[in-house]
């Protein structure tokens, strides 16, 4: 096998690679649109879910922490949405928190994709029966009953439950302390 062969092999592989690259960029350009759209939709959906009273949202930022101000149909402020990622049993739990104008919690959202708790145990924090407890609460109420608040922990998943509660409370405190001042 001489030098020519080596060049030839390189060229053949190059052709294959080029064809492959072409095909891929085609697929990429098609799917990228869908992927981005999906991501946008799911984000927007979550915002709307935790703050149903708002019609659209404006993204703001305070000291590097993002915050979404909700506006109702009339352009009136309808509350805010913040995010938190407290450390649970299996890693961070991405929590989306909606806060009513009266500073009570409107709702919180955690999907299965947002967390890595143990299936069958900690994963129950994604269930409405747990998340629903936060509605309308604020301040010291946002703690587990064991810690003096009014949230029932999930059986055998105190750690996950406490993480969520503490995360929500911390986010709420931040909002009440600093986030409110954004305009």
């Amino acid at each position: 096998m001489g030098f020519r062969d080596i060049i030839k092999m390189g060229l053949i592989l190059m052709t294959v690679c080029a064809v492959s690259a072409g095909a891929l960029s085609l697929v990429y350009s098609v799917t990228k649109v869908v992927i981005d759209e999906n991501a946008r939709i799911s984000d927007a959906k979550k915002l709307r879910e935790v703050l149903p009273s708002a019609a659209n949202f404006v993204e703001k930022e305070i000291k590097g922490r993002p915050l979404w101000i909700g506006m109702d149909k009339d352009g009136k402020e309808a509350g805010a949405v913040i995010k938190a990622a407290p450390r649970g049993y299996g890693g961070p739990i991405k929590t989306t928190i909606g806060i009513n104008p009266d500073k009570t919690i409107s709702s919180i959202a955690i999907t299965k994709l947002d967390q890595t708790e143990t299936p069958g145990l900690g994963v129950k924090i994604t269930m409405e029966s747990f998340r629903g407890q936060f509605k309308g609460k604020k301040g010291e109420e946002l703690k587990l009953k064991k810690d003096g608040g009014s949230i029932d922990a999930i059986t055998a998943a105190t750690i996950s439950s406490r993480a969520v509660a503490n995360g929500v409370k911390e986010g709420w405190e931040w909002y009440v302390g600093e986030g409110q001042n954004v305009k």
């Binding site: 450390r87 810690d147 750690i159 406490r162 503490n166």
Partner: protein, 338 residues
Amino acid sequence: MEKDKEPMLFLLTPSPHIRAEESVRGLMFSVIFALVPTALAGMYFFGVQAISTIAVATASSMLFESLYFRLTAGSAGRGPQSLGDGSAAVTGLLLGLNLPPGFPWWGTVIGSFVAIILVKHLFGGLGYNIFNPALAARVFLLISWPVQMTAFPKPSPMFGNVDAVTEATPLTAVKMLLLSHGSVKPVDSVTSNLNLFDLLIGNRGGSIGEVSALMLLLGGAYLIYRRTISWHIPLSFICTVGAFSSIFYLLDPAKAASPVFHLLNGGLFLGAFFMATDYVTSPINKRGMLIFGAGCGFLTAIIRQYGSYPEGVSFAILLMNMAMPLIDKYLSPRRFGG
């Protein structure tokens, strides 16, 4: 076959022609005997629930063992085996002692199955299993049913009413504090109101067999005195836990429990005297035993302090079981003249 009138033929065996009194069965029964005080203490504090859990564990282990023998009778490659060697009883008893009082009976039976069939016999039976059967079963149950495995009833001496009231074991309480990243209370809020005497006699929540440090020490001392086990593994295990928990305590007393607390709590004595010493799954040489014990101790301390489980003894022993073949291979005894 033999006619009565023919003179008896001489018996020929290879030398030696005498042997020590010890037998596998005798050793196993000495372990059972040494566990009696512990079991009684557990029964005293947890009443009927403890009795039934121990009974179900022991009986089902022996049942699975005899079932397995019946199923595989006549298959080649095995010497004679029978329930009579007592090893299944030890496994069952230890499994029972490793469970919380009142653990559901079906879970106990599954545990016995895991111990006897999955971990012991599928690996070749007595003498060949790599992992400690009772412990592997305990961890299997812990992972599978964490709720039931961590529901420890409050002790209620003298067959009092032990229903329903569960309480966190001291180690669990400490772990919850540690996992809350200091956001709740310092560690000594838990440890300071523990009564040393209660810890010693076993008046605390926990698995049936782990609560009474005194009875465990008694049994362990008996085993060492009878030379059923040697002191190497228990001593190095316990000392290492003591040493590392002291280090952690000195580093940050607010975030670590005291060494005394660590020594008296959890399954340390049960593990060190009765489970890490299981012949089959621990190194065979003395030097290896020291390393094995120290490894168990180190892992226990690390898991207790930094892991997500409140108790690390079971995991530590299982992990060291894995290293046992390597230890054995590279720490062979010193040969004469070499």
